[in-house]
Amino acid sequence: MSTLDSKIPEGPVADKWTNHKNHINVVNPANKRLIDVIVVGSGLAGASASASLAEMGYNVKTFCFQDSPRRAHSIAAQGGINAAKNYQNDGDSTYRLFYDTVKGGDYRAREANVYRLAEVSASIIDQCVAQGVPFAREYGGLLDNRSFGGVLVSRTFYAKGQTGQQLLLGAYSAMSRQINKGKVTMYNRHEMLDLVLVDGKARGIIARNLVTGELERHSAHAVVLATGGYGNVFYLSTNAMGSNVTAAWRAHRRGAYFANPCYTQIHPTCIPRSGDYQSKLTLMSESLRNDGRIWVPKHKKDVEAIRSGKLKPTDLKENDRDYYLERRYPAFGNLVPRDVASRAAKERCDAGFGVNKTGEAVYLDFTAAIMRYGSEKAHTSHIHNPTDAQIRELGEKVIENKYGNLFQIYEKITDDNPYKTPMMIYPAVHYTMGGLWVDYNLMTTIPGCYAAGEANFSDHGANRLGASALMQGLADGYFVLPYTIGDFLADDIRTGEISTESPEFEATEKDVKDRLEALINNKGSKSVDHFHKRLGKVMWDKVGMARKTEGLKEAMAEIKQMREEFYKDVFVPGTVDEFNPELEKAARVADFLELGELFAKDALDRNESCGGHFREESQTEEGEAKRDDVNFAFVSAWEWTGNPSESNLHKEDLKFENIELKQRSYK
């Protein structure tokens, strides 16, 4: 298993997907009834895959650790979903979406996959509308769009600030329909703790029933991992508390290569942390950058005055403000891609211009938009000579309509009214572009084990554009995986049900049992959170927004040492066979402690800056990221060898046949 075959179909990029679908094996409808598929995860990728596979006739078993599939973390996505519909007639096309995504990903994604993503994007919107997803509409009754960072067209569909919720509930309802028909069996409050291989193929999982604590064996002819991202390796992130790497990591340990673990997206607009007790960070959707302008004071004396409460940001004159994104990137302004916006905020704060007590915050200001919308509204409502206060009021209504729930979230957390005073924001870990390596069929290096959604590495290269994760999750689940999986399953029409009484199931279950018992019986002196927080701090300080050789080496050593300490000194209360949230956390953090080290190793190995990965050694004189296409135009796929620091590197060379490699510029 040392060569990576990406199985990219022959032919021109625009024909690859159609050709491929025409040539792969398919399973006839009667035979599909003889085949079982396990889907781990009920987010956009998992729910859509479960629904589609069941509609086609497969017997599907779906797992999630929450109490209902509707609560998968996709529910929290706010801003929107991209699709090349060109409803706004602004020159959008499949090619343009493809181009933007490859460029946005800083030329570190596979062209063929990205093209396919762009190609199926339009069908996603059609499908969701057919399901009753209430997207935002214009007064004429047609669908509305907004713009996201890194692009010059308006192609993002949205449902206020709750797009993920509406899309997930659409997929959840499609899946519920199949549950009702008996084609999907749903296992809520179940956590996959290992993958079972029989004759080298993925044939099942060991899952823990989180209510009773019982370990269960589940078999199938193929296993799909749609288990989300691993941003919580940083402890603080915008991910949900339960988001974790365990399913992917356990598959990795069983032979699935892990690709580009260090590609992390640090989102520029999150609510800054307020204290040590902080348990998570909250995103303020990128869509806000459509209407918000980002700034810090120009002069240090004003920074001081603001921090000490002597000066209000609203009292600072235009001339004394530094709209640094508009200054540095006049073409894209506040809508530069996320990685660029995050680094620019860090640069200003490191230089001492941060506007809150900790010095880690910049302003996101809606005044200009409020006044602009207010004047428009006054005009269309035939209000003559409106006062500033009237304009403001009208404008605030428009803003409320667009972002009401985000403003409410902000106010609840900070106790500040963002209609009246600018929001304070700072970058936070948000999304992981890295994940399990998959080929064009979304199969990992373990035959029969697939990865979809954020759990795989495939489409976003080194930086994901806003509103593209929802698109990818649903593309994978509705339109890609249900077809490509047939190519593998066609060999299984005569296999019959896979028994769970085999030595393989037995041995894997025992592994899991031993692991959990070791954690419970450890009886150390420190809580799981203690270790998770420490790991997060090392990751953020040394493997965060800026990375350099020395820090990365230190991080690797520190994480290794922390892992040893964890196994000596962690305390997990309760028992194995009961509802035990601390034990769940412990098993997840144990895996984060391994992933963290590989993450740092990958970052060390990639001695170039690209997308969200910024190596201080590799920058231009102006401090912009410098990519190195001669030496690093490849995907790093790591093979587990028993120890994260000794993982084996396999390279998938990236070939760009349709898009010319260029240094990204948003100036």
């Binding site: 209902s68 509707r70 935002a136 957390i413 949230p581």
Partner: protein
């Protein structure tokens, strides 16, 4: 601030529960309610005791997982928020806070503050969808324009997070607000209209089978609902139900 917490502790679904008292110290008013619970749990763990089990995930008011009955109100004293969005600035130094799980026959307690809400899933499975397969050739999304007003109303109903506070707030433990939100969303859209009759009948049947109580129009549900789902939805569902029953 310093607080006294009185918390429902129950080891398992079958065991008997009781209220237990825990003092907590140095709570910052910028903490969320769940961060305050984290502080308590960390203390319990450090003392070698069992932490309090509670449901939570997104901690930003959207997944619907958190579910605490605080001082006699689901999601606590603040309006239009979930427990995870409730902040300690709503409390005062020296307060005693009572924390219990949702109470309803259809939501049995699993442990401490954790309840089983899978009855909600089963109500959706009974009909909370549009019967459309994934095909890749559905008609174009803009083929049927939808009046913005209806789209907006459907959206408002669709923002229900399935938390169950409406049930916990209701003296009859009725699920009408939750069920009507889904029925309304789909009946307001042309895509959902086709199956509207069967949907409302099947979902209400399931709701009754799960053991949710009857609606007596008290309106406590809408007051406690973190997403401000409107009582209009219940009225709309009642109309739908009546017309569907008549035509059956």
């Amino acid at each position: 601030m310093n607080l006294t917490l009185k918390i429902w502790r129950q080891k398992s679904p079958s065991s008997k529960g009781e209220m237990k008292t825990y003092p907590v110290k140095d709570i910052s008013e910028d903490m969320s309610f769940l961060e305050m619970m984290d502080v308590l749990n960390e203390e319990l763990i450090n003392k070698g005791e069992e932490p309090v089990a509670f449901d939570h995930d997104c901690r930003e008011g959207i997944c619907g997982m958190c579910s605490m009955y605080i001082n006699g109100e689901p999601h606590g004293p603040d309006r239009a928020v979930t427990t995870c969005q409730l902040h300690m600035r709503k409390f005062n130094d020296g307060d005693t806070i009572h924390i219990e799980p949702w109470r309803a026959n259809a939501f049995p307690v699993l442990k401490d503050l954790v309840v089983d809400r899978s009855s909600f899933d089963r109500v959706i499975q009974a009909g909370g969808y549009v019967s459309v397969n994934t095909s890749g050739n559905s008609q174009d999304a803009n083929a049927i324009p939808i009046p913005k007003e209806n789209a907006d109303l459907a959206f408002d109903a669709a923002t229900c997070i399935g938390c169950g506070a409406c049930v916990a707030a209701c003296k009859n433990a009725s699920a009408m607000l939750f069920v009507s939100a889904k029925v309304s969303q789909l009946s307001l859209l042309p895509q959902g209209e086709v199956e509207a009759k069967d949907r409302v009948l099947n979902m209400i049947d399931q709701m009754d089978d799960e053991g949710f109580g009857n609606c007596t129009n008290t309106g406590a549900c809408a007051i406690e609902c973190p997403k401000e789902i409107s009582l209009d939805n219940i009225a709309r569902m009642n109309r739908e139900y009546l017309s569907a029953s008549v035509s059956k």
